[in-house]
């Protein structure tokens, strides 16, 4: 039965120095762990909430998979409120997988993405916003993203949403009291104008929250940054420079990169998902054609495009073609190889990309020159000219962002509603209130009446 079975998964993202945790949760977690674990000193039953050093054994007699630190946490003082076992492995990805397989061969089920958190939520351990915040922690790609996720765990988003809801509630209470108690002097008639004025202020707050939430989303998923340019202009060189490692193959042969490469880079706390692409040119090579097609698509889809030109060679016909597919995209222009000469004046770049206010950066990647300027330009773009050091202080899931957007839409509808009919305005206000409630998981409301009776002296 759901919730009754034991789930297992690798809890740390792969590829982080080989240290990883296999986590088990469910009624059989401890039993399974004790079957595969050979403690160095400890005896069974293992003490709860302690670290135990030992080895995980393989299916063959005497086979050791890895040396591990194992923690048993018995319900209910655990994250999922079920029995939980965590096995810290450090032998790299292979033993990690084998430990997981061992637990599964003993009856654990491979957890679905986010299932631990879902269990915690279902058992009432987390509210909806906290649960989603936790999923962000797991996925957050950079240090600051992690801060933001932790901020939400502490309820930043929930708290702000609650504050806004309180404000809506008060406004609703005034509206509703005037309808239900039309002859009470204590209850002032609320005019449509007043409702709208206050509603506009609330809308601003919801929008600011949605804006922040969207920025938070960038922290989680990374800004998809596509490097594009003719063959041999230095695209792969840029990827390597940003990564500070030789990730992509760099050669003097045009058309070296045939397929795209993706890597995450932490740039001033912003995760960039950098995509290196095949150089764009006319070609007959089938593999290359496909790569070029992909590059075009990627450029269309990316959040940000870094367009590299060869500063020494001037603007080529292919550059004009590339420029034509970048219409409406956020672009940073990198004039590379300035060590070989500078034959592209800025004005020409502007003419090439009319309308776009793309930052233009002069660089010589081979000399590590221009990288700082590039990083600065990108982070400024991401924060859209906001104060330096501004950061998302909470994260939101797509669902939460959508709820915020629905709340904004209802408030907008309210502002467009008829002035002379406050009753109709309350329909949209209530919808906004409900949408915001979905973020914190509170939808059932008796608060309105409580509010009315607390605020007004009512009673004929």
């Amino acid at each position: 039965m759901f919730l009754e079975d034991t789930i297992a998964a690798i809890a740390t993202p792969p590829g982080e120095g080989g240290i990883g945790i296999v986590r088990l949760s469910g009624p059989e977690a401890v039993q399974i762990a004790e079957k595969i674990f050979k403690p160095r000193k400890a005896t069974f039953p293992l003490k709860s909430h302690r670290l135990h050093l030992g080895w995980v054994q393989g299916p063959q007699e005497g086979e050791i998979i890895d040396e591990v630190l194992l923690t048993v946490m018995r319900a209910p003082r655990t994250f999922t409120r079920e029995d939980v076992v965590e096995i810290n492995c450090h032998g790299g990805i292979v033993p990690l997988r084998r430990v997981l397989e061992a637990t599964i061969s003993l009856g654990a089920r491979l957890a679905e993405p986010g299932e631990f958190t879902r269990r915690a939520f279902l058992k009432g351990r987390l509210d909806l916003a906290q649960a989603e915040g936790l999923l962000q922690v797991i996925r957050a790609k950079t240090g600051e993203g992690l801060q933001a996720a932790l901020g939400q765990l502490e309820g930043t988003l929930s708290r702000r949403v609650r504050e806004i809801r309180q404000e809506i509630l008060l406004l609703l209470a005034r509206l509703e009291a005037a309808i239900d108690f039309p002859e009470e002097e204590d209850v002032d008639e609320v005019t449509g104008r007043q409702v709208k004025a206050q509603g506009a202020g609330i809308l601003e707050k919801v929008r600011a929250l949605a804006e922040g939430a969207r920025r938070g989303k960038i922290y989680r998923d990374g800004v998809e940054t596509v490097i594009i340019g003719r063959p041999n202009v230095g695209k792969s060189s840029l990827l390597n420079a940003l990564l500070r490692e030789e990730r992509a193959i760099v050669t003097e042969v045009a058309g070296t990169t045939r397929d795209q490469l993706e890597e995450y880079v932490n740039l001033a706390g912003i995760p960039l998902k950098i995509v290196d692409t095949a150089g764009i040119r006319k070609t007959r090579n089938r593999v290359e054609i496909i790569g070029v097609e992909r590059a075009r698509n990627l450029a269309q889809r990316g959040d940000l495009v870094i367009f590299i030109l060869n500063a020494a060679e001037g603007i080529a016909r292919e550059d004009r073609e590339i420029a034509s597919i970048l219409q409406g995209k956020q672009v940073v222009v990198l004039l590379n190889k300035i060590d070989l000469g500078e034959n592209i004046p800025e004005a020409e770049v502007r003419r090439l990309l009319p309308g776009a206010e793309a930052p233009i950066i002069r660089a010589s990647l081979i000399n590590q020159q221009g990288l700082e300027e590039l990083e600065l330009a990108i982070s400024q773009l991401v924060f859209q000219g906001q104060v330096e050091g501004s950061r998302a202080d909470f994260l939101a899931s797509l669902r939460q962002i959508q709820a915020l957007e629905r709340a904004s839409a209802s408030l907008l509808d309210m502002l467009a509603g008829p002035l002379e009919d406050p009753d109709l305005l309350s329909i949209d206000l209530k919808a906004a209130y409900a949408a915001l409630g979905e973020i914190t998981g509170e939808t059932v409301e008796d608060d309105l009446l409580d509010k009315i009776f607390a605020e007004f002296c009512i009673g004929k």
Binding site: K123, I179, D421, L424, A431, E442, C457
Partner: protein
């Protein structure tokens, strides 16, 4: 000693509607009441209707009930409230001539076929094999019936409190029955103790109306009953009068608080927040310089006036002293002092949405005994309980109304799902889909249901169908007919102070313009068929508010999805893994019939709800999988 299809205990507003409904549906019906002199008694304010309450009256009428017709025939004054707000919250209220209201209702009961009246005290309910079979009177008489409707109002173990005076008693100076409460407890029902209060009645000759503000009736008084439309004559409406308490009044109260049973702890029952006593108001809102006082006539042939806004249980000498501080009441003489009353009522979460007691087939309860307040709330429950008792007796499907269909649906769902910790009053803010539940369309919403169960008469139904067809036909026509921007049309528009047309438009579009109304529309298109004012009004509302109406309909659809996910009656909450203890207890107690209902129970969190959802999903999948 006689057997019936349906027995109704009580002759208040719930009892009257319940008995009339059952009898009119063709069931042999008996009404047993403490006193035939107090049928349809109005022991509190002399008014019917107002926001949400007026909606209930219209709904009772649409189902085939009597309250609307009764107040239409016996009112002293009519006002439409909230006319500055949208049509959903327009609310009709009438001042009643109490005596005539009671007399007419008794006449109607007596003239109804299949209905017997009987004065008597019901001592206990009779059951057999866990089913209700009849009632035992204090005199030893037994009446048998497969369905019994309990509508005993505030009478059960009623206790009247006035200063330090306390005695067993009930409104109208009657004796409070003691036995029935015990009988209910013995049958396993949980009872609560509620409190309510009423102000003094005073001698109209001792009031100086010249120092008060007159509150006259409407120039064009409307009717409650759809059967009395369009507007009728209502000559010589009587006015109400508005005055205020002042600092001296409040001082008298403050100085005598130690004599108020509310503050000395003699009253344990929970009183209503929306109808606090004057001593409550003075204490809780101490910074207010004055509170409103309305003087309302109790009838055309009596001197009595009702002092609305000054409900109290202070001793009589304090009542007099405080009343005499109020402007225009300096010489006032009390005819009946105000008092508080405590009474037993049923914890309503024990009921189904049919108003049948869960686990006690055949017993229905309605009105204040279910923890509500107000004549209108009582009447609305009464008609539903009466309908369902009759359906039960005849072995037919019972009627359930949900929150998207009627205020009555909201009322019943609130009661049986959430329960109530104070006498429950209907308020428009309790209804999520207010724009759909207007008072003007109660017939469109409910008359088909009333007809289906056999309560709405053929004549009323035919009239309803005619109206509905006319409304639909006219809306269709407005969508088809175009007006062109001819000079004549532009001239009419300008004359009406409206903007000119820039091109041809349908009448429907034109009517949607905020400054446009149906009357103006008629001037623009000569060949509009003659329609009732009610039909015109309906067309106007439906066209003008179509956008919002659609929006609410979409919300209703979403709501119904959760309502339709039913929870099997035999569910064992102990067997649902992962539920929090509080939620488990609440669910076991309330036994919701749907996930939607479960979600409205306080103490059941969204997390619990998703656990329940997953569990039900699992269960139904397992059920499907177990085939061959």
């Amino acid at each position: 000693m006689g057997s019936y299809d349906v027995i109704v205990i009580g002759g208040g507003h719930a009892g009257c509607e319940g008995a009339l409904a059952a009898a009119r549906m063709g069931c042999r019906t008996l009404m047993v009441t403490l006193s035939l002199e107090t049928i349809a008694l109005m022991p509190c304010n002399p008014a019917v209707g107002g926001p949400a309450k007026g909606h209930l009256v219209r709904e009772v009428d649409a189902l085939g009930g009597e309250m609307a017709r009764n107040i239409d025939a016996t009112c002293l004054q009519v006002r439409m409230l909230n006319t500055t707000k949208g049509p959903a919250v327009h609310a009709l209220r009438a001042q009643a001539d109490k005596r005539r209201y009671e007399e007419r209702m008794r006449r109607v009961l007596e003239d109804t076929r299949n209905l017997d009246l009987r004065q008597g005290v019901v001592e206990s309910l009779l059951t057999e094999g866990g089913r209700v079979t009849g009632v035992l009177l204090a005199t030893g008489t037994v009446f048998a019936a497969p369905a019994v409707v309990l509508t005993t109002g505030t009478y059960l173990r009623g206790k009247i409190i006035l200063g330090d005076l306390q005695y067993d008693g009930a409104p109208g100076g009657q004796v409070a029955p003691q036995g029935l409460s015990r009988s209910l407890k013995d049958l396993g029902l949980d009872l609560m103790r509620f409190k309510t209060g009423t102000p003094a009645r005073v001698d109209g000759r001792t009031l100086d109306f010249s120092r008060m503000m007159e509150q006259p009736g409407d120039g064009e008084p409307l009717s409650f009953s759809f059967r009395n439309m369009p507007a009728r004559e209502l000559p010589d409406q009587m006015s109400c009068w508005l005055t205020h308490t002042n600092e001296r009044t409040h001082r008298v109260i403050q100085e005598n608080l130690h004599r108020s049973p509310l503050f000395t702890g003699q009253i344990e029952g929970t009183g209503p927040r929306y109808c606090p006593s004057i001593e409550d108001k003075v204490v809780r809102f101490a910074d207010k310089a004055g509170h409103q006082v309305f003087l309302e006539p109790e009838g055309r042939h009596t001197l009595e006036y009702y002092v609305q806004g000054m409900s109290t249980s202070l001793p009589e000498d304090v009542q007099l002293a405080m009343l005499q501080t109020v402007e225009g009441m300096e010489k006032v003489r009390i005819i009946r002092p105000g008092y508080a009353i405590e009474y037993d009522c049923i914890e309503p979460t024990q009921l189904d949405r049919t108003l049948e007691v869960r686990g006690l087939p055949g017993l229905f309860t309605a009105g204040q005994v279910n923890g509500t307040s107000g004549y209108e709330e009582a009447a609305a429950q009464g008609i539903l309980a009466g309908i369902n008792a009759a359906q039960k007796a005849r072995g037919r499907d019972m009627l359930v109304l949900d929150r998207s269909q009627a205020y009555l649906g909201v009322l019943v769902d609130d009661l049986v799902t959430k329960g109530t910790s104070e006498p429950y009053r209907m308020l428009t803010s309790r209804a999520e889909y207010r724009l759909l539940l207007r008072q003007d369309n109660a017939d469109l919403r409910l008359t088909p249901s009333g007809y289906r169960v056999g309560l709405v008469e053929e004549k009323q139904y035919q009239a309803f169908l005619r109206k509905r067809d006319q409304v639909e036909g006219e809306i269709r026509r407005l969508g088809q007919v175009r007006v062109n921007p001819t000079p004549e049309v532009q001239e009419v528009l300008t004359r009406l102070g409206l903007g000119e047309l820039s091109g041809p438009v349908t009448l429907e579009r034109l009517l949607k313009r905020p400054e446009m109304d149906y009357a103006a529309l008629k001037k623009l298109s000569g060949d509009i068929p003659p329609l009732d004012r009610e039909v015109e009004r309906q067309v106007e509302i439906q066209v003008k508010y179509a956008g919002y109406i659609d929006k609410q309909k979409a919300q209703v659809e979403k709501f119904l999805r959760m309502e339709k996910r039913s929870i099997p009656e035999d569910i064992d909450y102990e067997g649902v893994p992962g539920l929090r203890k509080e939620a488990r207890e609440k669910l076991k107690k309330h036994r919701p019939r749907s996930l939607g209902q479960a979600g409205r129970i306080s103490g059941v969190s969204p997390a619990d709800l998703s656990i329940l959802l997953l569990y039900l999903e699992q269960r139904s999948r397992a059920g499907r999988g177990s085939g061959p």
